[in-house]
């Protein structure tokens, strides 16, 4: 066996090792009940509960934004996000938050929103010349 082959095998080994290890970095999209039962850090997909008030009082604390979110199973929980309220949040179609459950609240530090494509919703005939 030559050196490069040995090296190649070593790298494949390393790749396998990393692959096994990286599986810890990977999770499925979860829901609130799973977050409660495992207590783990997870990503939850859901939609904003638009009937409930958004709570962002930058005068008091600009780092805490609270809102209610329904996960894909229809479970509703309050999310405590340690970020400023994102722009256009009210219009989001889907939300993905990363964090964990504590005392019936979901503490998140990452958020991704899917917003309706900028202009898709608007009708052409609404855009009359002003």
């Amino acid at each position: 066996m030559n050196k490069i082959t040995i090296l190649g095998l070593l790298m494949i080994g390393a790749a396998a090792f990393i692959f096994m290890n990286a599986s810890k970095d990977v999770s499925t999209y979860s829901n609130f009940s799973e977050a409660v039962s495992t207590g783990n850090r997870v990503k939850v997909v859901g939609t904003l509960s638009k009937d409930k008030a958004l709570d962002y009082l930058p005068e008091v604390n600009p780092h805490i934004f609270k809102f209610y979110m329904k996960d894909n199973k229809g479970n509703e929980k309050q999310v405590v996000l340690s970020k400023a309220k994102p722009q256009d949040f009210e219009r989001s179609e889907q939300i993905v938050v990363t964090g964990s459950m504590q005392n019936d609240q979901f503490y998140a530090d990452e958020i991704l929103m899917k917003c309706p494509s900028k202009y898709k919703e608007e009708e052409i005939n609404l855009r009359k010349r002003s």
């Binding site: 050196k3 790298m11 990393i18 990977v26 930058p58 600009p62 889907q94 964990s100 899917k114 005939n125």
Partner: protein, 937 residues
């Protein structure tokens, strides 16, 4: 259905562009076929003539593409909104300088940009016409065939399935939308374009896409050469001509990556320069693979080793570009990426595009793999080629890791194809994940590039002592520099020390190499520049990426999120109120609206305490801004502003604004929710509001409210007041009401510090101003300078003025007008008024003047030139006692603050310097290889 004859459409543009697209498709196909026939032709004359047909059809194809590009730009510049692409990307208020950005904002435009570069490259290849030309050109034509097919816009219904082949950008808007407006023949006069996304209205959007697509287009050339070499069974001679192309591709792609990084950092609110976003990753991966290919290419040119790997790398480089196109354009990345294109429904076509290059390429490589020569004798462990090979494998390994992780959404999509209920997998914390593994790649890259420069190709003997001495020296330098680095920035774990060491090692080692060879072997300096750049970049990342800090009040949060406590990231800045943050006094000074962006001036004063003396050691202003949506209804995005220093950057970005400021709908909701309480007050009266007391001071008959002046008014009144609190803090205020014709405008007084808003009630006007029809005019017939009395006032015409334009009257053509100068005297004051007499045609008109303080209305209603007599009409407002009606709301939310994120990035310039050096090295190498090849051919 009734046929409508639409007004103002330029249908020829659509017809012509369809002809161009179709022509470009046919000629690309013809070119591809001809080049292939030429390649497999038996006789030399057949080869030559088919080659010529291939060449001519490619030139024709290029002409079609260029014409299409010009035609579409023409339609965009002239705003032909009947075409969907123009409607989607242009608007009347879009400055002409952004027309190119608007052109390649959409998928179709960017495909054309890509094809444009293929055309340019094709012309260069045709001009050079080397031994590999036929197949390289055939590959290019094949890619063009696919790309132009994306614009065909043909719909096929077959066996119950609906296929869409491409999407034509020059479709008529009314053909693809069924809106009621299209029943109007003159619909074009009613619509305006959607315009360019305000986020993309900056110069980055003008320069970044041409670079990235030039790189995309260039990457097919190494691919084409590899295919040509495999088909021509000539496995070694292509290594020389392909090298400059690969170097240029890697340089341009790398420059595009740096530009994207700069764009994200300078102009977007991502708060950093690299986020391991799948869109970024899929452009980085081909770059890494190409760089690995360049290493094996250099090596195989010198030692005949690594030829097979060069094939693999160059083939997969282009394939990864197509793969990244598939990822960013198909919508598959969905919620894992912040900036992919919007979907166009072409994911299957893109998949076949990829497969049509992947499968034949792979088959050919496997079929010919054994034939690719490999030297019999194994390389020595101390030879340069061995360690370069190891380096290439490390790079390839890195590409595999990045690509596997960013391909998770693809994996999920495939699984879901077989099992609809499959629950997709996702990386929980992507940035952490990538950093963790790529750190080791960087360590190996640093060590290998620092070591291998001192080794030689094809040696069987080595002198160990000088090598060991030299390496030990550079390791010592690296240890010292790493230690110094650790004094400057914090390296929290041992592997960061290791990365620091590896980086400084390659910097030091390559610096010596550079100094030694700069004079005699200029060509050799290229790799040293790139490798030093790599080390410097890695140190820059350690400094700026690992050691950035927030300019905020630390650790208020402790414990809330379980761990040691999160650092506060943002600060609330109230206008004109200085705030001490760490050693800076930060003040939000003012805001200014420029075009579609509101700029916030934030001043920073760095202070130092010397004993009891406070000294300002540095002072600067940043201007982050908020961009409004095209219709100004809300704020669409925030853009940062950064203060640059040699050793650090201070990055500032607004992250949030008061709801009433950022969205007009919410502003209305908030205003509606305020509870105004009505009062009727006399001057001197007071009202208690929470902790504060409001006192009415009186009335102004000529309002001074700052917003009142911005509008036209016939008449207005204003209430003066002041507010004080227990501590004696006092604010004076004004609230005004103004009348323009029949429209009433209110100008409230707002007191952010007290949470109070006060506005006059409409009845203020009624109490002061009697409507015209209820006035009792008294008529006087007088001569000039003759005094007369009215309700205790003495009036007199003192003269006349030809200047008649006032707020109440502007002359129309044919008007004959004159204003009388009437002096009105009361006990203590005199006023001068200018009532106007106008003859319009034969009809006399009188335009009154008004003295708000006295409530006198004065008209000049008749002029008799024969007798020199004038008719003056005077009336007085029926004013009662001066009860001022006001409405006051308390607990009004503040609107005069910003939430600011301020970040300090130490050493970020090392990152930019290092990454630019890497590309400079590639360009230098390209230049020398290009010159060398010229000499050989």
């Amino acid at each position: 259905m009734e046929q409508i004859n639409y007004i103002g459409e330029s249908l020829w543009i659509g017809h012509l562009s369809k002809a161009y697209i179709f022509g470009a498709f046919v000629t690309a196909l013809l070119s591809l076929v001809s080049y292939f026939v030429s390649f497999y032709a038996k006789t030399e004359s057949e080869k030559v003539s088919w080659h010529r047909i291939g060449k001519l059809s490619y030139i024709l194809h290029g002409t079609f593409i260029l014409s299409l590009l010009i035609l579409m730009l023409y339609a965009m510049v002239t705003q032909r909104y009947e075409y969907s692409y123009v409607f989607d990307h242009v608007s009347g208020d879009l400055p002409l300088k952004y027309i190119l950005s608007a052109f390649w904002e959409g998928q179709e435009g960017s495909f054309i940009l890509w094809m444009f570069w293929h055309v340019v490259i094709g012309f260069v290849l045709i001009y050079r016409n080397d031994a590999w030309n036929t197949i390289v050109m055939a590959t290019l034509a094949f890619a063009e065939l696919w790309l132009i097919s994306m614009l065909l816009g043909i719909h096929i219904d077959f066996a119950g399935y609906h296929f869409k082949l491409g999407s034509n950008p020059m479709m008529l808007l009314r053909d693809i939308n069924a809106a009621p407006i299209f029943s109007n023949a003159d619909y074009l006069s009613l619509i305006k374009g959607r315009g360019l996304n305000p986020l993309l209205q900056n110069y980055w959007m003008t320069i970044h896409p041409p670079f990235i697509f030039a790189a995309f287009a260039l990457s097919i050339v190494p691919f084409g050469y590899a295919i040509a070499a495999l088909l021509q069974k000539n496995y070694t001679e292509w290594l020389r001509p392909v090298l400059p192309w690969a170097l240029l591709t890697a340089a341009i792609l790398g420059i595009s990556l740096i530009m994207g990084s700069l764009w994200a950092y300078e102009a977007l609110s991502f708060g950093g320069y690299w986020a391991w976003d799948p869109v970024e990753n899929t452009s980085l991966v081909p770059w890494i693979i190409l760089v690995a290919g360049i290493h094996t290419n250099l090596m195989s040119k010198a030692t005949a080793r690594g030829t097979r790997s060069t094939f693999i790398f160059y083939l997969s480089g282009f394939l990864m570009i197509v793969y990244s196109t598939l990822l960013t354009r198909s919508g598959i990345l969905g919620d894992t990426s912040a900036h992919a294109f919007t979907e166009m429904g072409l994911e299957w076509q893109l998949t076949f595009f990829l497969l049509s290059f992947l499968l034949p390429g792979l088959a050919l490589l496997i079929y010919r793999y054994r034939k690719i020569p490999v030297p019999v004798k194994e390389e020595a462990i101390y030879s340069r080629e061995f360690w370069m090979y190891v380096g290439s494998l490390v790079l390839f390994f890195s590409a595999v890791l990045i690509n596997s992780a960013s391909s998770l959404p693809v994996f999920n999509a495939i699984m879901r194809y077989f099992d609809a209920g499959y629950i997709g997998k996702v990386i929980r914390d992507p940035i952490e994940h990538y950093n963790k593994y790529q750190l080791w790649i960087a360590v190996f890259t640093g060590l290998l590039s620092g070591l291998s420069v001192w080794l030689f190709y094809r040696i069987s003997e080595i002198q160990w002592r000088p090598l060991i001495t030299r390496l030990s020296f550079h390791m010592l330098v690296a240890v010292i520099l790493t230690w110094l680095t650790s004094l400057w920035i914090s390296l929290p774990q041992w592997h960061f020390y290791l990365l620091g060491f590896a980086s400084w090692f390659t910097v030091s080692s390559n610096a010596e190499y550079l100094i030694r060879h700069a004079r005699n072997h200029t060509k050799m300096t290229a790799s040293a520049i790139s490798h030093m750049g790599f080390g410097i970049m890695a140190v820059g990342i350690l400094a700026s990426g690992l050691n950035f800090s927030y300019l905020s009040n630390p650790f208020v949060f402790k414990g809330l999120f379980g761990g040691d406590g999160d650092e506060e990231k943002y600060v609330q800045l109230i206008k004109s109120k200085p705030l001490l943050i760490k050693d800076y006094i930060v003040t939000y000074e003012r805001d200014t609206l420029i075009d579609k962006a509101r700029f916030y001036d934030v001043s920073f004063k760095q202070i130092e305490m010397k004993g009891n003396q406070m000294k300002v050691i540095d002072s600067f202003i940043t201007r982050p801004n908020a961009v409004y949506a095209n219709d100004f209804s809300k704020i669409a995005a925030f853009n940062p502003d950064t203060r640059h220093y040699a050793g650090k950057d201070i990055f500032t970005c607004v992250v949030s604004l008061p709801a009433a400021v950022s969205d007009s709908e919410q502003a209305k909701a908030i205003e509606d929710s305020l509870q105004y309480i009505a009062y009727k007050l006399l001057p001197g009266d007071t009202v208690s509001l929470n902790e504060a007391v409001l006192t009415i001071d009186g009335i102004n008959y000529r309002p001074r409210h700052s917003e009142y002046a911005l509008h036209r008014h016939d008449i207005g009144f204003e209430i003066r007041y002041h507010i004080t609190d227990k501590t004696g803090k006092r604010e004076d205020g004004l609230c005004a009401i103004g009348l323009d014709g029949n429209i009433l405008y209110k100008y409230p007084g707002k007191h952010e510090n007290f949470g109070i808003k006060i506005r006059p009630a409409e009845s203020l006007i009624d109490g002061l101003l009697t409507p015209e029809e209820q006035l009792n005019y008294k008529t006087f017939t007088v001569k000039k300078d003759e005094s007369f009395a009215f309700n205790g006032y003495t009036l007199r015409i003192t003269g006349f003025d030809k200047e008649t334009d006032t707020l109440r009257y502007s002359a129309e053509p044919g008007d004959i007008g004159i204003s009388g100068l009437v002096e009105v005297g009361s006990k203590d004051t005199a006023y001068l008024v200018k009532p106007i007499f106008v003859l319009r045609g034969n009809a006399p008109m009188s335009i009154k003047d008004y003295i708000p303080e006295t409530g006198l209305h004065i008209r000049l209603s008749r002029i008799d030139p024969t007798t020199g007599e004038f008719e003056i009409k005077v009336a007085e407002d029926k004013r009662g006692n001066l009860l001022l009606p006001v409405e006051i709301a308390k607990d009004v939310p503040r609107t005069d603050y910003i939430i600011l994120e301020a970040k300090i990035f130490p050493g970020i310039n090392l990152y930019w310097l290092g990454s630019i050096m890497m590309m400079v090295g590639l360009l230098v190498s390209w230049y020398f290889q290009y010159r060398e090849r010229k000499r050989w051919t």
